[in-house]
């Protein structure tokens, strides 16, 4: 399969969700000020046309292969598999973990699959200015990168708190020519950055395209971002079948912030899920622990509500005021989640677990020590979940067949090194920082 075939398969999905008004069951839809409705209609029409337009597909395929570096590798992880097996007290040969290497994308995460797609569309719509929100800065960097690549003006909204936490990414965006606007309203994090980006869009909608970074927001964003990320799952499926002699993964595991990397890798397997051959597992941030109230797990503990233009599970109080999320990983530090995940949860199409800050750090070390890969803290949540999954599903191993797991390694962890050092109370800078020796358990 060429990149073009893969792009065609990704955009040419057969599933009929959402409905024409953007609903996944009761979720999704469009809950935005009237000022934006025309722009959303325009974007929907442009995207519907682009999706099946050979010229658009070819252009996207070209950039994905020549600029982003797709297809990304599917890497067998024998030493990680062995460690996870050991942790769950099962035989090493019984666990076979594969990593879908989105960390190898240009800019270091899956986010760019979406920003390139959206910027081709923005250009076609005649928009001259690009705005985006960012939490960790990965989506901001991916947007600033694509804007530089296409020669468009770019403005990134980022919570003032995140600007402090992620100064390296702020600098990267600035080097890429973007303006970074710190947002001091509310909790000064991702959700407030998104509010401010929407306000900018409401004001400048005639000239500006808003690049939402996940499968969230009003229709058509959850669908469009999912489709641009479906390339992950389409590639992975083909690679997996080849490497495992026609066997499918038993489980697909991905972290869920807004849910774009998860939706991207899950979605092309939906018919196999329906046949009971593949199970989907999303991993939310449990922060300081679900019981602490400080987490980013709306699918576990939220209730349906409207945030940022769509109906989905949301962390909120009794009066519908949105609660603050917490996660060590800024990309999962969000009180909402994409509407299709809410639908998947209710319909039992996927199951969702969660991992605390501390557990995620162990996942990070496991990957670094066994496979020589520094994973993003977001992705480290998915890694950390593996031992729980295997321990939970030990019974399945009695059949003698190995348990095959496909893990979405959504990004690389270079951006997180400072945050991890801070968390461990280690001062970087003198070159003699004490080693971060792994515990391995």
């Amino acid at each position: 399969m060429s990149t073009l075939d893969i792009v065609r398969a990704a955009l040419g999905r057969a599933e009929d969700t959402p409905d024409t008004s953007g609903h996944y069951g009761p979720y999704g839809g469009r809950y935005v000020p009237e000022t934006l409705m025309a722009a959303l209609d325009e974007l929907s029409a442009a995207y519907d046309a682009a999706r099946v337009d050979p010229k658009f597909q070819a252009e996207l395929a070209e950039y994905l292969s020549e600029y982003v570096g797709r297809p990304t590798a599917l890497t067998f992880a024998p030493r990680l598999s062995a460690r996870v097996a050991d942790q769950a007290d099962v035989n090493a040969e019984q666990i076979r973990i594969y990593l879908k290497r989105e960390d190898l994308c240009h800019t270091g995460a899956h986010k760019i699959n979406n920003t390139i797609g959206q910027l081709i569309l923005a250009k076609a719509l005649g928009k001259t200015r690009i705005i985006a929100e960012t939490g960790a800065g990965q989506h901001g960097v991916a947007t600033a990168t694509a804007a530089a690549f296409f020669g468009l003006e770019c403005c990134i909204y980022m919570g003032a708190e995140d600007v402090k936490r992620q100064s390296l990414n702020v600098f990267r965006m600035k080097m890429l020519g973007a303006e970074v606007i710190p947002v001091s309203a509310g909790s000064k994090t991702l959700k407030d950055a998104m509010n401010e980006a929407i306000r900018d869009w409401v004001t400048n909608v005639r000239t500006t395209h808003y690049v939402i970074g996940s499968v969230a927001g009003p229709h058509p964003y959850p669908m469009m971002v999912r489709d641009f990320q479906r390339v992950i799952g389409v590639e992975a499926k083909k690679q997996f079948l080849k490497k495992e002699d026609g066997a499918l993964p038993d489980y697909i595991v991905a972290c869920v912030g807004g849910g774009s990397n998860a939706m991207g890798i899950f979605h092309p397997f939906l018919s196999e899920v329906a046949e009971g051959k593949v199970k989907l597992v999303g991993v939310e941030a449990a922060g300081y622990g679900l019981e602490s109230g400080k987490h980013g797990a709306p699918l576990a503990l939220g209730e349906p509500g409207v945030l940022h233009g769509s109906l989905s599970y949301v962390l909120q109080d009794q009066f519908g005021q949105i609660a603050e999320a917490h996660s060590i990983s800024a990309g999962l530090d969000y009180p909402g989640v994409g509407p299709e995940h809410s639908f998947f949860k209710d319909e039992h199409i996927a199951v969702y677990g969660s991992v605390t800050d501390d557990e995620a750090l162990v996942g990070f070390r496991d990957m670094a020590e066994t496979e020589g890969i520094l994973a993003a803290l977001e992705s480290s949540h998915a890694i950390a979940y593996l031992r729980k999954l295997v321990a939970d599903k030990k019974e399945d191993l009695k059949s003698g067949e190995p348990m095959r797991i496909l893990l979405c390694l959504s990004g690389r962890g270079d951006k997180d090194v400072q945050a991890i050092a801070d968390h461990l109370g280690i001062e970087l800078g003198d070159g003699l920082a004490p080693g971060v020796k792994g515990s391995g358990s």
Binding site: Y31, E34, T35, A39, R199, P304, V306, F319, G320
Partner: protein
């Protein structure tokens, strides 16, 4: 009292209706009723803002006011209770303006019931387009609560038809492509926009977002049936001032606005 009655009454006296927005329980529970009563002397309709943590259609002034009351622990119930317990009735219809999640999460039936109980005649929900409003409309209609929808300069003719068709009470015309907030100038194409909306409805049209000076009030009052003022009024209410000072400042701001609507 229905919202439309206020428009007819104003129109009978030869002027546009004045619609004034105040964030509920701003600046605090105790001072709010007095401020509301004072504003009501000048207003034909009073809009009560139900604060939301993420008010994405609002500019800095209303954002701040919302944050201020939320930080003080004020809830939707506190505001509705305050309206139900006003020492003297305002004598003007009230509309609750708030974001959809505060209604959705409260429970549509419960919210509509409570609104009706405390004398609210209408609701304005800036992030609930008519496409998502069917269930709510059925419930609100049954309680006699008018759901006001908004139209914007970016709305296509098809959307104007749809939105104006579904609107109850009046049609809220957003003057600018933007969020709420006082502005020095109104957009030059405002008159044209209002005329365009008129083609699709004979319901009263009120123009808001950005209206702040007596001159704005005069010019908007000539093109539309109602003038909505929010941020500029909130700016006249200083949480740090004494209640006496606040009431004086509200009067000082509203006096010339109301005069300007008389067309003199």
């Amino acid at each position: 009292m229905r919202l439309s009655d206020a428009f007819s009454a104003a129109s009978d006296s030869g002027r546009a209706a004045l619609v004034l927005y105040i964030t509920g329980c701003y600046p605090d529970k105790e001072s709010f009723p007095g401020i509301l009563a004072t504003a009501a002397e000048y207003a034909d309709i009073i809009e009560i803002g139900i604060p939301f943590s993420d008010p994405l259609a609002d500019g800095p002034v209303i954002q701040k006011a919302s944050e201020h009351v939320l930080a003080a622990g004020i809830t939707t119930d506190d505001i509705l209770d305050a309206l139900g317990a006003l020492p003297t009735p305002l004598g003007k219809p009230m509309a609750a303006m708030g974001y959809w999640n505060t209604v959705f999460h409260y429970g549509m039936e419960a919210y509509a019931t409570r609104c009706a109980e405390v004398g609210i005649s209408g609701v304005i929900l800036p992030d609930l387009p008519p496409e998502e409003a069917d269930e709510w409309l059925e419930i609100a209609d049954a309680k006699g609560i008018d759901t006001v929808f908004l139209v914007a300069p970016t709305s296509s003719d098809e959307r104007l038809q749809l939105v104006a068709g579904k609107a109850r009470g009046f049609v809220y015309c957003v003057s600018v492509t933007g969020v709420t907030g006082a502005r020095t100038d109104l957009p030059p194409e405002l008159g044209e926009f209002v005329e365009r909306v008129r083609k699709f409805t004979d319901k009263p049209l009120a123009v808001g977002f950005g209206v702040s000076t007596p001159e704005h009030a005069t010019s908007v009052g000539q093109m539309a049936d109602g003038v909505v003022i929010g941020s500029a009024l909130l700016r006249a209410i200083d949480p740090a001032a004494t209640q006496e000072q606040r009431l004086a400042s509200v009067r000082k701001y509203l006096e010339p606005i109301r005069k300007a609507l008389k067309g003199d």
